[in-house]
Symmetry: C2
Subunit: 228 residues, 2 copies
């Protein structure tokens, strides 16, 4: 196995998976999904569907125990409501801190767990879908290019120079991610982004707003929103 891809079933990580399969071939790519205590499993269903579409090995791990003490609004045990507005609006009232849907050091923990598994499987690269819109204004500090650089160094050095991280979209907007994905035929109709777990995307949470805008800027309707 060559490459591991963190796959959440959303736009960004599915595009990452498409890129990795293009580059290495499906036999050399493993997808890794994470249950972290989120309110619903729609995104895990989506990551399953995406992995089947690409024909890659797929494993889901459980990291929920490490967020039991967190009151992040994405978590099932939280008493916080998921905000119904764009991240830019939310950031006006966080006093410089991350938004309420920031799961404590989530990307750091996901990447570290992926690194331990990837090393055991002989992979030498991990892909993940951090992009610039999520990092803007410190909404999700573990999506920033500064975090990516530091975590890449930590994984490379801490693995005895056996493993690298790749975040191909860390300097891109979500619209640019979608543009990239459309050019390689990423199956966006199989993806799920909404933080709520209803039959259809709510359309008003931060990630629904971002997703709709990314497709609008590419001049097409969101294929998932029509089919769920």
């Amino acid at each position: 196995m060559k490459a591991m891809v963190l796959s959440s079933g959303g736009i960004d990580s599915t595009t990452c998976l498409g890129i990795a399969v293009e580059k290495y071939g499906k036999e050399q790519v493993a997808a890794l999904s994470v249950f972290y205590g989120q309110k619903h499993d729609k995104e895990l269903q989506a990551s399953d569907a995406v992995a089947r579409y690409y024909g890659v090995e797929h494993e889901t791990i459980d990291l929920s125990a490490f967020f039991l003490h967190s009151n992040c609004s994405l978590l099932k045990h939280s008493d916080q409501q998921i905000p119904q507005e764009a991240y830019a609006e939310q950031l006006k009232s966080t006093d410089g801190k991350p938004v309420s849907t920031y799961v404590p050091f989530r990307n750091g923990l996901f990447l570290a767990a992926a690194a331990s598994i990837a090393l055991s499987k002989g992979c030498d690269v991990i892909y993940y879908g951090a992009h610039a819109d999520d990092a803007a204004g410190n909404a999700y500090p573990d999506c920033s290019s500064a975090f990516h650089k530091a975590m890449t160094d930590a994984v490379f050095i801490g693995s005895g120079e056996q493993l690298k991280l790749e975040a191909p979209f860390v300097g891109m907007t979500k619209a640019e991610v979608v543009k990239t994905g459309l050019s390689i035929g990423v199956p966006y109709h199989l993806t799920w982004s909404c933080y709520e777990g209803e039959d259809r995307p709510c359309g008003v949470c931060g990630t629904c707003i971002d997703r709709a805008e990314a497709f609008r800027l590419n001049g097409i309707a969101d294929p998932a929103a029509r089919e769920v």
Copy 2:
């Protein structure tokens, strides 16, 4: 809660715990231990005893699922024997790679999991016991000062500048760690280091050899070796 300390029940992390308790007081310190699939639970018993000695909150988490695919010789499911020689000897035949007791990205994963928990508990610093002898010759690359610097940056940036790492011994030898610990009365008689899980330390694995030497250089016998 102010500080979290990664506690393995060995010399280095127990000295870290002593330092944190001296600095912040026992009410502000939480110890965190990890089951990762190791061959025995002697070190977890030791970390329990140490936490009780200091009167600090103590939690043990299970990260063994992430090492199921690894054949590291410390793991219960591995078919590799634990080497019976010093690290310097072992490194002569690893071709620049870590020793066989290197658990894939172990410190990275332990620190990332600690970071997620520490943020939820409102801690702003995590202590861990990496020291220079373990990093020498790339035996354990996730104990090096370069790893520490990168991981500290990753945690600080990825947490939205809410959390720091401290590795007070990263530039010290194990003998210097013991010297520090002796000066603040660390209960070394409660600690366990041996990679094997017999009634008494084997005396011939890499960590037994290092431990004995650290006490010898301080001019005293190992208190644990007499009492187990």
